[in-house]
């Protein structure tokens, strides 16, 4: 369980956040976000832009270059990206969620979640449980493949 494609990592994001949502099963910001990023095989995400936002952050993690929100990200493809290691995929997930959180006026529910998820290299996630959950989500995706 080490390297993962952008699609597998995106599925892992779905699994990871879905498991967090299952704790309360309440409609709200996290539920809405999950609805937007639900994976559509071969076509990205239910909200089409979210797939390209994801790829923009995968690219950022891998190259240091971010295609800005003000530029149409529709030219990005998964084939442009290299496989991600678990830390890269986690960091891409964090910044992907954080960008959305900023865009929609920083809703508290996602802000709290980001606080728990914050990752410091060498130290891990603010809430250690989050990293364990991430490993479990990636493992589930790789097992279901």
């Amino acid at each position: 369980m080490s390297l993962t494609t952008p699609e597998q990592a995106f599925l892992a994001v779905n699994v990871f956040l879905r498991a967090l949502w299952e704790r309360t099963r309440q409609p709200g910001e996290l539920g809405l976000f999950l609805g937007m990023i639900a994976y559509v095989p071969g076509d990205g995400s239910l909200d089409p832009a979210m797939w390209f936002d994801w790829l923009a952050w995968v690219k950022k993690v891998q190259t240091g270059e971010l295609v800005p929100e003000t530029t149409n990200r529709g030219f990005l493809t998964a084939r442009m990206m290299r496989p991600l290691d678990l830390e890269q995929a986690y960091l891409a997930m964090f910044t992907f969620i954080e960008e959305y959180w900023e865009r929609v006026g920083r809703p508290a529910e996602l802000g709290d979640l980001l606080g728990q998820m914050r990752y410091t290299p060498g130290t891990g996630t603010a809430d250690p449980e989050m990293w364990k959950r991430w490993l479990a989500a990636v493992g589930k995706v790789q097992t279901d493949r």
Binding site: G31, L32, G35, P41, L46, A49, N72, P107
Partner: protein, 181 residues
């Protein structure tokens, strides 16, 4: 000499403090004139915008339109957008959540790049019972309709406000719209 100087200073000070009354024969300003105070600058326009939105919130649509007429410096696009807002509210269409607007209207695939009156109308007119697809497991109400052009408009509603919306050039099935599969 000192007394004379003190008296002059006293008169000057009192004149400065004396209240200026408006002439009694000045006609009272209408509410519209008061609203339009400073219409020429952006501060005036901001005031008009706020008054239009407040009137919409109060369901006073005639007044909202009156305020809109005062916004002489507003661009045609913005005027059209406000007119659509008033009209949509009159028709009891589901409103947008303001904070979601930067996500809904952006230059990305499947989204309308600009918050125009036409784009707002396409989305709001989709979020009606006739176009209801179903409820996602996470509590999001999903609406869709396919236009004559073949383009599918989709809208997400949570807690009575539009939180996301856009279009698919290739329509997705109801099942896909609900869970992606």
């Amino acid at each position: 000499m000192r007394n004379w100087m003190s008296a002059v200073l006293m008169i000057v000070a009192m004149a400065a403090c004396h209240p200026r009354y408006a002439p009694l024969d000045e006609p009272p300003r209408s509410a519209w004139a008061a609203a339009c105070e400073g219409c020429g600058g952006s501060g005036g326009l901001d005031s008009i915008r706020a008054r239009i939105l407040a009137s919409i919130a109060a369901r006073n649509y005639d007044q909202a339109r009156e305020y809109l007429k005062l916004a002489a410096n507003m661009t045609d696009d913005e005027q059209a957008r406000f007119e659509q807002m008033i009209s949509a509210a009159e028709r009891n269409l589901v409103p947008f959540l303001d904070k979601a607007l930067p996500h809904i209207f952006r230059q990305q695939p499947g989204h309308f790049a600009q918050e125009t009156a036409e784009a707002r109308e396409l989305l709001q007119a989709t979020a009606t019972q006739a176009n209801f697809v179903g409820l996602q497991e996470m509590g999001v109400k999903v609406y869709q309709r396919v236009l004559d052009t073949g383009v599918q408009i989709w809208v997400y509603v949570v807690n009575g406000t539009i939180r996301d919306g856009g279009y698919n050039d290739i329509p997705r099935s109801a099942a896909q719209l609900l869970n992606g599969k």
